[in-house]
Symmetry: C2
Subunit: 213 residues, 2 copies
């Protein structure tokens, strides 16, 4: 399988973690988003949305990180990334989607470029924008994690899963925009527990072959 | 079950369609987002993120529309909203997530209020913002739908599912911001096919008891 990836993309970071947790080795094909590799015609043929990640399974190309991760979970069942019962699955997916739907898309590279280039938003206001949406999402996430008996060492119980896979890249992004994390002790604790695992720390942006920092 | 809903919320619209397709009747509890019902303390106790929809199943409260819909699909299997095979499931989820992750969150009420109230973006520029992200997402979606042999009367085959459930509310939103749809004939065709079904047309915002237009 081939993974189209960019070291700093949160969504690609998620899929790198999931592949590592499943023990699935893939060829990495870097698509440098800041240099505009994604607008080249041959990448649009791979993924018409021109986003990373995309996973070429050999028979089809899968896009959208959550869809890819759930596909991996169905086709490579061990270790599971979602709990067995419908309520637990819905909880983990909701935690993941707070990040993947309500925080990350509002702060991604494309949106930040539109704010700066089209709307002429000043750098300080653009940074405040990122911190605002991360803060809103993390406030809800912290409460959902801290108040639930289902939270364990990780977001759901004591093994890492889909929600943790979304959490760690978002904490990385929060660090990049200087978003204070003092108010989110549970998020910080789970992030630290994840980063003790090679599947998470090895997927870290700065450790990717295409990293140009 | 109780559904916390707002007539104009795309995400609540999705869950209303899914419930209707499954033939599940629920009590509707309107949360008027423009009037700020969601900031009242008793709603934050239901959903710490203070978003709609939230589905109170009697034993737990589920949040995030895609997580809720997949929970319904697991607990009320007929008719299925996702295809049986992992690749088909991944395709439908990716189509849904293009809308639910990459279009809708960037244009929702909260974000538009921040653009206008905090960043002082002019109304015309805010409208252009909405049209831009809908256009980007719909361009990719149109191509993915038009070029795939798996697209049928609906987004995947000839029965409605998760992707259609996301498509119709997003087309409704596109209409509200005057986004031209001429370039998206497949999206328009599928939207029209969906709206022939009472499950979709009955979930329409203007037909909800809490609609104040």
């Amino acid at each position: 399988m081939k993974l189209y990836t960019y070291f700093r993309s949160s969504a690609a970071f998620r899929v790198r973690i999931a592949l590592a947790l499943k023990g699935v080795a893939v060829e990495h094909i870097p698509i440098h988003l800041r240099r505009g590799d994604q607008v080249a015609r041959d990448y649009a043929a791979v993924n018409p949305q021109r986003f990373v990640p995309a996973l070429d399974t050999g028979t089809t190309v899968l896009t959208q990180s959550l869809a890819i991760i759930e596909y991996l979970d169905e086709t490579v069942p061990r270790p599971p990334l979602l709990p067995p019962g419908p309520e637990g699955r819905a909880r983990v997916k909701a935690l993941a989607q707070i990040i993947a739907c309500d925080i990350h898309p509002i702060n991604n590279l494309k949106v930040m470029m539109y704010l700066r280039d089209v709307l002429k938003v000043a750098d300080a206001d653009a940074t405040a924008w990122s911190r605002h949406w991360i803060g809103e999402g993390f406030t809800a996430l912290e409460r959902l994690l801290a108040e639930s008996p289902e939270t364990g060492r990780f977001c759901h119980g004591d093994s890492p899963g889909l929600a943790d896979i979304c959490l760690v890249p978002q904490v990385y992004n929060a660090g990049r925009v200087g978003c204070p994390l003092d108010a989110y002790p549970t998020i910080r604790r789970i992030n630290a527990a994840c980063l003790e695992l090679e599947a998470f720390s090895g997927a870290w942006p700065d450790r990717q072959p295409d990293a140009d920092l």
